[in-house]
Every structure is written in structure tokens, then in C-alpha cells.
């Protein structure tokens, strides 16, 4: 990855590893750089081994990388367990008083011993403050601006009072000054300031929550589950200011049923979960479809089955979302490739749910949920909230499930004087139970007609990156996008088809692109290549070349490069 400087911070869970990495990412962003961060942590709150990689560049960075230029090692494991991730001349910053075993490190490595704990204690802090000292020391080595760091510390700890802010800032200064004095000859300009337009640093969880707020969400019921738990944290923290309600329910079944109840009563409603929670929600998924209730569901994937790998990433839930629940019904399934897509797809999902009166799933994965990355500040000025056919007026002879050419009947809410039964049983146009053949057929066709209307009215395109004609076409989805974009920079004869609309599926367009391809490689983070199977189902095209990974780790650009080199283009 040319022109990208990669810093990895490692330590014990509870040492503030992720927070430290995020501050470094913001320092870099405020210095005009692009950043990408990638976190690895086990499903433990304290005592486990946590890592964050921060990639910094003058150009856009879209993926993590295997090798690192600089390490901040806050424990012995950060060194011992990751020797293969060090570049030969990697910088290693560590606490010189901890007597770490450095014998296995390459002799060309640049060592930066700093008395982290001692400096933390010198400003009145505990050992916990040593990460701030370490970051201060790192900023000096990388040519960064201490003032930006101090501003960020002030913003982060403002609520905890002047004293805490001051102590943190002094800790940063101590580290900074130590490096300036002791490593004069080993300084770089990775963080040198550049004048660029302002950017933001955001991950997919925050992006989904922000997208929901921007789209006017009124009710969210979300049960905590990795990797989406932070969606609810952002929603809960902002509910009063933006006048919506977040409710933590007793389980995912209640989450989806509460959201359905709120939606029927007239509130823009959502829920979010991971695959395991979605299994519980599948019951309510079909209920929303049968009662024609608008609902947005964020599904953050992690490897399964069962508890699987709770804090790692996977892409095994495509078929679950497309086929979950018994019987036939229309559902829209969208899959984001990064936090920015997650933001805009979430906003769009609310309009789609309202327009077509059905459940809309936005799939993300753990890497999207938790990898913070710099983007241009999200601009929502083009967004037009669309509630579809909706009335609050009392209608003569109102029929909730009236047969219409486009399959969409006017929706209303309880309390308007309009009588209807939102019915999970097959129903008449009013909503009464029915088993009459004609009525049963009419209602099934009506619901499925909405899906056709959606296909006709919506731009369901996938996106092709790279040249229109190429020797190799990569097809993929989700967070693999970033690594693939990074990898194909080295291959002018490769292009990449990124699919975001999974249901309805852009079959004609995908077929058209893949028919032109000389060689297709399907890249996914699952065992069976589900997207490839969906492509075969929808287009008849059989993909025979795969790069599949199911160990929870991201597909790194290096692995894609190796694969492309293997096919000799």
C-alpha cells in the first residue's frame, strides 16, 4: 500500500486502545490526511488483547493492511503475538521500564523506548494515562501538531472537568517533549499539516444511527448485540435532542414487534441486530410484510452459526435476509460497502419502507460497523422524506388493503376514524380474516406487485469500479469493497463489480457486466460463496473462481493482490 503509513496500537482490553487509535485518526484527519482504522478485540471487556490499526495517507484509504510501519506496544503480547505484522524497519514505541522481551524483533527495527508509566504518574495520573503519553510521544515522532491533540483531549474529557482535561494534556505534552528531546534524529513528517476540505471520522454503527436520525426516525427498539450495539448507544444519547424514542426491549422478538406497533401507530420505526438476533426477528419480519407495515432493520453480520465469533466479521447472512420467514413476501435487502454507504442506504431505507409499505433490511458487517474512516462530511441536503401513500384524513369506505394497480394501498393510522385490521392472517381489503380463494390470490398478488413497482421505480444499480473492459472482473459486496479497491490499484486490467441491491437484485445489469468479463473472481467472507450462488440464480452465470474467507478477519488487500497475481493478468 504505497503512500500509506500504518500505525498499530496494541495492549490489554481496558487500556483505552480503541479510544487512543480514534484520537490518532482524528489528529491525522484534522491535519488534512485520509485515515482508516481497523480494530481487533476478543469478546471480553477487560484483560484480553486489543488492537487498533490506524492507516494514514494523503490519498483515500479504504482498507486495513497486514504490515505496519509503527507500533505502539502497551503490553508484551503486542510484540510477541504479531511479529509477522512488523515491517523490517518498523518503529516500535514501548515503555522502557517494563523490561519487555524484544529479542525476536528484527534488528533493523527503530526502537522508541519511553518511560510511559513514569511520565503518566509525573502529571498525577495512573498507569491508565500511559496511552496518552504514548500518543503524545508518537505525535512528536510523526511530525504532528501537539495543539490538535490537546484540543481533542479537551473535547473528549470536557464533561469530566478541567482537572482531567489538564492532566491529559500534560500527559500528552510529557510524551511529546520526551520524543522531541530523545529521538531528534528519528522524526518523520507523516502528520505534517495540509490544507484540505474538512473531513469527518466515522464508523458504520454511528453512520447507521446518524442516517436514521437524519431520515427522521421516530422510534427505535434495539436489543444489544455485537457488532451493532453502538447504533443504540448513539440513538439513545441523541433521542431527546432530535425528538425520537429509543427503547431497549427484552429481546429481539419484542424489538421487532414494538417497532411494528409503533410503525402501525404512525411512527417512522426501526430496529437493528446481528444474525443471531435476526433469527429471532424473522417471525416479525414476515409479520411486517403481511400487515404491510414499513420497517427498517439494520443487520450487522458476524461469523456464525450460533454464537460464532462475536467480535469478528462475516458475510454469512445474505440468504437469511433474502429468504428468512415462511412463505412468499416482498422485502427489500440492501448491503452497504462502507460507513458512507451505510449512512445513505439507511436514509433511503426509511423512504423505501414507507413507499412500498414493507420491511427493508440494510446489511452491514462488523468491519463496516466498527472501522472508523475519514469521509467528506455527509451532506443530506438532497434528501426528500417520502411517506408514500399515507393519509390522516377520515375516508369514506376506507380499505387498508385496497387493490391498486401498483399494489400499494393508502396507509393510515389508528385514531383517524378509519377502521381497519392490520392482520397477520390472510385478509380482505378491510383486513378481515379470509380463506376465500379469490381474496387470497388477490392479496398475495397485490403484495408481490409492490415489489415489481419497486423494481420499476427505483434505481437498483450496482456499481462498477475500474475499466469497463478488463481481463479480470471481481464481484463482491460489503466491507470487502475497501480492500478490493485498494488491491486493484495495482492491476489496470482488473475491474470490480460492487453490489448493494440484493433484493430486488439488479439481474440485467449484473448479467450484462459479467457476460463481458473474461474471468470472474467472487470474493466473499463466507464458506459457500452466497453472492455467487445468488448471481447464478438470477443471471445463469456460474462463477468458478473464488477468494473466500471465513475466519472473521477482513480480506486484506495483500490477499487479493496475491490472488490476482496468481491468475496472471
Amino acid at each position: 500500500m504505497d503512500g500509506v503509513f500504518k500505525v498499530k496500537i496494541g495492549g490489554q482490553a481496558g487500556q483505552g486502545i480503541k479510544a487512543t487509535g480514534l484520537i490518532l485518526a482524528k489528529i491525522a484527519t484534522r491535519s488534512g490526511k485520509h485515515v482508516y482504522t481497523y480494530t481487533e478485540f476478543p469478546s471480553l471487556i477487560k484483560g484480553g488483547h486489543n488492537l487498533i490499526q490506524v492507516l494514514i495517507s494523503q490519498r483515500e484509504v479504504t482498507s486495513p493492511s497486514k504490515k505496519n510501519d509503527f507500533w505502539i506496544a502497551l503490553d508484551q503480547n503486542s510484540i510477541n503475538l504479531h511479529l509477522e505484522e512488523f515491517k523490517p524497519r518498523c518503529g516500535i514505541l514501548f515503555d522502557e521500564e517494563k523490561n519487555y522481551d524484544l529479542s525476536k524483533i528484527n534488528k533493523d527495527a527503530n526502537l522508541y523506548p519511553v518511560p510511559l508509566v513514569k511520565l503518566a504518574k509525573s502529571v498525577g495520573g495512573s498507569e491508565l494515562l500511559s496511552n496518552t503519553v504514548a500518543l503524545g510521544a508518537t505525535i512528536a515522532i510523526l511530525g504532528g501538531d501537539l495543539q490538535i491533540f490537546k484540543e481533542l483531549l479537551s473535547e473528549q474529557f470536557r464533561n469530566k472537568g478541567e482537572k482531567i482535561v489538564g492532566m491529559n494534556q500534560r500527559a500528552a505534552e510529557e510524551g511529546y517533549n520526551f520524543s522531541k528531546e530523545n529521538f531528534k534524529d528519528k522524526q518523520q513528517n507523516v502528520l505534517a499539516k495540509e490544507n484540505t476540505s474538512q473531513r469527518m471520522v466515522v464508523n458504520g454503527n454511528d453512520a447507521c444511527a446518524l442516517g436514521a436520525i437524519a431520515a427522521g426516525v421516530q422510534f427505535a427498539a434495539i436489543y444489544p448485540m455485537s457488532p451493532i450495539s453502538n447504533i443504540l448507544a448513539v440513538l439513545a444519547a441523541n433521542q431527546e435532542k432530535y425528538n425520537f424514542i429509543y427503547k431497549q426491549p427484552e429481546d429481539e422478538i419484542s424489538a421487532i414487534n414494538m417497532a411494528i406497533g409503533a410503525s402501525v401507530a404512525g411512527a417512522r420505526s426501526m430496529t437493528a441486530t446481528s444474525g443471531g438476533g435476526f433469527c429471532l426477528m424473522t417471525e416479525g419480519y414476515g409479520l411486517a410484510a403481511m400487515t404491510e407495515t414499513p420497517l427498517v432493520i439494520i443487520e450487522g453480520m458476524r461469523p456464525g452459526p450460533a454464537s460464532g465469533l462475536p467480535t469478528w466479521s462475516g458475510q454469512g447472512d445474505l440468504r437469511l435476509t433474502i429468504h428468512g420467514h415462511q412463505g412468499d413476501f416482498p422485502r427489500i435487502v440492501l448491503a452497504a460497502g462502507d460507513a458512507q454507504e451505510a449512512f445513505f442506504l439507511t436514509m433511503e431505507a426509511f423512504n423505501l419502507a414507507d413507499k412500498y409499505q414493507l420491511p427493508v433490511v440494510v446489511i452491514v458487517d462488523k468491519n463496516i460497523c466498527e472501522d472508523d474512516r475519514s469521509f467528506s462530511i455527509f451532506n443530506t441536503s438532497d434528501y426528500k422524506l417520502d411517506r408514500g401513500k399515507f393519509t390522516l384524513e377520515k375516508q369514506e369506505n376506507y380499505e387498508r388493503y385496497k387493490l391498486e394497480a401498483d399494489g400499494i394501498s393508502a396507509r393510515t393510522i389508528p385514531g383517524t376514524g378509519n377502521f381497519f385490521i392490520a392482520n397477520s392472517y390472510e385478509h380482505t381489503t378491510i383486513g378481515y380474516d379470509t380463506e376465500e380463494i379469490e381474496e387470497v390470490n388477490q392479496q398475495m398478488k397485490k403484495r408481490m406487485t409492490k415489489f415489481q413497482t419497486c423494481i420499476e421505480n427505483e434505481k437498483t444499480d450496482s456499481k462498477l469500479f475500474g475499466p469497463e473492459k478488463a481481463d479480470v472482473t471481481i464481484v463482491s459486496w460489503g466491507s470487502n469493497k475497501g480492500s478490493i479497491l485498494e488491491a486493484i490499484k495495482n492491476f489496470p486490467n482488473a475491474n470490480f463489480l460492487h453490489i448493494t441491491w440484493m433484493n430486488p437484485f439488479p439481474a440485467a445489469q449484473v448479467k450484462n457486466i459479467l457476460e463481458k468479463a473474461n474471468r470472474i473472481i467472487d470474493i466473499e467472507c463466507n464458506f459457500e460463496g452466497t453472492l455467487a450462488s445468488l448471481i447464478r440464480e438470477k443471471t445463469g452465470i456460474e462463477i468458478k473462481d473464488f477468494l473466500l474467507k471465513y475466519d472473521g478477519r477482513p480480506i486484506f488487500p495483500e490477499e487479493i493482490i496475491a490472488k490476482l497475481e496468481g491468475v496472471k493478468i
Binding site: K26, M200, V201, V202, D206, L210, I213, A214, A215, G216, V217, Q218, F219, A221, N238, E240, N243, F244, I245, K247, P249, E250, I253, S254, N257, M258, I260, G261, A262, S263, V264, A265, G266, A267, R268, S269, E283, G284, L287, T291, I377, F378, T380, K384, L385, R387, P414, G415, T416, G417, N418, F419, F420, I421, A422, N423, S424, Y425, Y432, D433
Partner: protein
């Protein structure tokens, strides 16, 4: 004002003749007429079971959901529009088996909804299996040699779970049940009525005679605000008391206290309901600044 005729739909009840659901339906409609509940102010939810058919026979806007889930749908609707008068109809299979979790949590949150639990101690719609209310030893299609499970007591469960209005009535006492439904609905916070009913087709042991012979009303002196006493009283269910011939199933309000409802504690809906304004796209520029 709502008239009984206004509540009629084109559907005729399909319950078995003699089913307790007729009586509950009648009692509810009488209450609706008395209080003016209609399509401008009231919303009903139901789960799956014989009880759920009530929605089709009652012309008040409703949601017929899934087995065990009428309570979360009702709570979601109430949070979205606290001006709505929300009822959840459910059954002993519906909210004491499949949806017990929801019932318990709705009670402890004190949502301002009214739950009417059709309690016939049998699965009627699936033609006669043991329910969580069936007694130990009960013989049915699913327990031909006798039920090995002990029954749940919904009154005890509701009190233990934090419900603020807990009552029991026998379905065929229609005027009394109407009054009780009104009282329950007037209560701010969650109210739950365990309505004992006969399933004359599949549960002859709990026929009308059984309830007529074994129920009695809690006296005027019964202190409804004493939780410990309410809990103790709720445990009384056809159990040997040592006194021959004594009626052993208490009816009436076991527990009633005023505590802030869930909805009354949400600042966002203090002055007006959530849906009193339509959703609008929000300017999040200020929020995005935190990410720079």
C-alpha cells in the same frame, strides 16, 4: 356516542356455542359503549388463539399479530401515540407460554395499556392440548398420561412482575367484567385482567359450573394496595385450605397502586405524542461536527 350496532362487523363469531369468549366480547363491547371507545381513540391488539378472533367481530381499529406477541405491538403503539387507548387481548397459551417474557417485562415497565387475558387453561384453537394454566395431572392430547407441569398463576406472576393493576374475573359475570374492564382501562399504568373462561369443547373440567361453584369475590375490606397480601391472596387457587366446601378462587382487584406509567416518564412525549407531528428530515450538521 358509540352504540352497540356501531361495533358490529360483517363477521359473525365462529367460537363454539357456550365459549367464554362470547361473554368477554360482550363485556368489552358494553364497556366500549359506556366509555365511547371507537376508531377515533382506541386501538386493539391480539395474539393467536380463539381470543384473537374477537378483533374480526369488533369494529375498532386493531392489529392481529402473532402468537404470543400482542403485548409488544401494543406497547410500541402506545409509545408512538400515547393518546391512543390501547388494549392487548391475549390468551393463556398466547402470553403465558409463547409470550411470557413480553408479559413480564410489560408489567415491570408499567406501560399504560390494558391486557385482557382469556384464560381457559387449554389450547382450544389447536384442538385441545395442555396449556401453562392446566393443572398438574391434566389429561389432554399432549399429556395423555397426565400433565407433569405445574400451572402458572397469571395473577401471582403479574403482581410479582410489577404490574400496578391486577384483577381476576369470571367471563360469564358480564356486567361485572364490563365494570372491571373500565376500571382497568381508567388506571394509569399497566392493568391486567385474568379472565377465567370455559372451553366447553376441550376442557370440561373447567366448565361454567366449576367456576360458579369455586369462585368468590374479594371483600370490600380487602386492601388492594398491600402488595404482600395481594401476592398471598393470589396464591389461593382451588388448593385445600382445610375447610371443606369453602370457595377457593378469589375474583376482583387483587392489587391497584398509582405509579408513573412508562409513557409518562418519557420527556420526548411529555407535552404531545410522538406522532402528533409527522416525521421530518433532520439537520444533523451539529451532530456531525463531533466526528471531525
Amino acid at each position: 356516542m358509540t352504540q352497540l350496532a356501531d361495533l358490529a362487523t360483517k363477521c359473525s363469531p365462529n367460537w363454539c356455542p357456550g365459549c367464554g369468549d362470547f361473554a368477554i366480547w360482550a363485556a368489552f363491547k358494553n364497556a366500549a359503549v359506556a366509555k365511547g371507545w371507537d376508531n377515533t381513540n382506541t386501538f386493539l391488539t391480539a395474539g393467536i388463539g380463539c381470543h384473537g378472533h374477537l378483533l374480526s367481530f369488533t369494529k375498532i381499529t386493531s392489529f392481529e399479530g402473532l402468537h404470543g406477541r400482542p403485548v409488544p405491538v401494543a406497547t410500541g403503539a402506545k409509545i408512538a401515540n400515547r393518546n391512543l387507548n390501547v388494549f392487548a387481548f391475549t390468551g393463556d397459551g398466547d402470553s403465558l407460554a409463547e409470550g411470557t417474557n413480553h408479559l413480564i417485562h410489560a408489567c415491570r415497565r408499567n406501560h399504560d395499556i390494558t391486557i385482557i387475558l382469556h384464560d381457559n387453561a387449554i389450547y382450544g384453537l389447536t384442538t385441545g392440548q395442555t396449556s401453562p394454566r392446566s393443572p398438574h395431572g391434566f389429561k389432554s392430547k399432549s399429556t395423555p398420561s397426565g400433565n407433569l407441569d405445574n400451572p402458572i398463576n397469571p395473577v401471582t406472576l403479574a403482581i410479582a412482575s410489577g404490574a400496578t393493576f391486577v384483577a381476576r374475573e369470571y367471563a360469564a359475570h358480564i356486567p361485572k367484567l364490563s365494570d372491571l374492564i373500565i376500571k382497568a382501562n381508567d388506571h394509569h399504568g399497566i392493568s391486567i385482567i385474568d379472565v377465567l373462561q370455559s372451553c366447553i369443547t376441550f376442557n370440561p373440567g373447567y366448565a361454567h359450573e366449576f367456576y360458579q361453584n369455586n369462585t368468590y369475590y374479594l371483600g370490600k375490606d380487602f386492601d388492594k394496595t398491600n402488595k404482600k397480601q395481594a401476592f398471598e391472596k393470589s396464591l389461593e387457587w382451588a388448593m385445600p385450605t382445610g375447610r371443606q366446601g369453602e370457595k377457593q378462587i378469589p375474583l376482583g382487584i387483587f392489587y391497584e397502586v398509582n405509579e408513573p406509567s412508562y409513557e409518562a416518564q418519557i420527556p420526548q412525549i411529555k407535552d404531545q405524542s410522538l406522532i402528533s407531528n409527522p416525521p421530518t428530515a433532520k439537520d444533523i450538521t451539529g451532530l456531525l461536527k463531533k466526528y471531525t
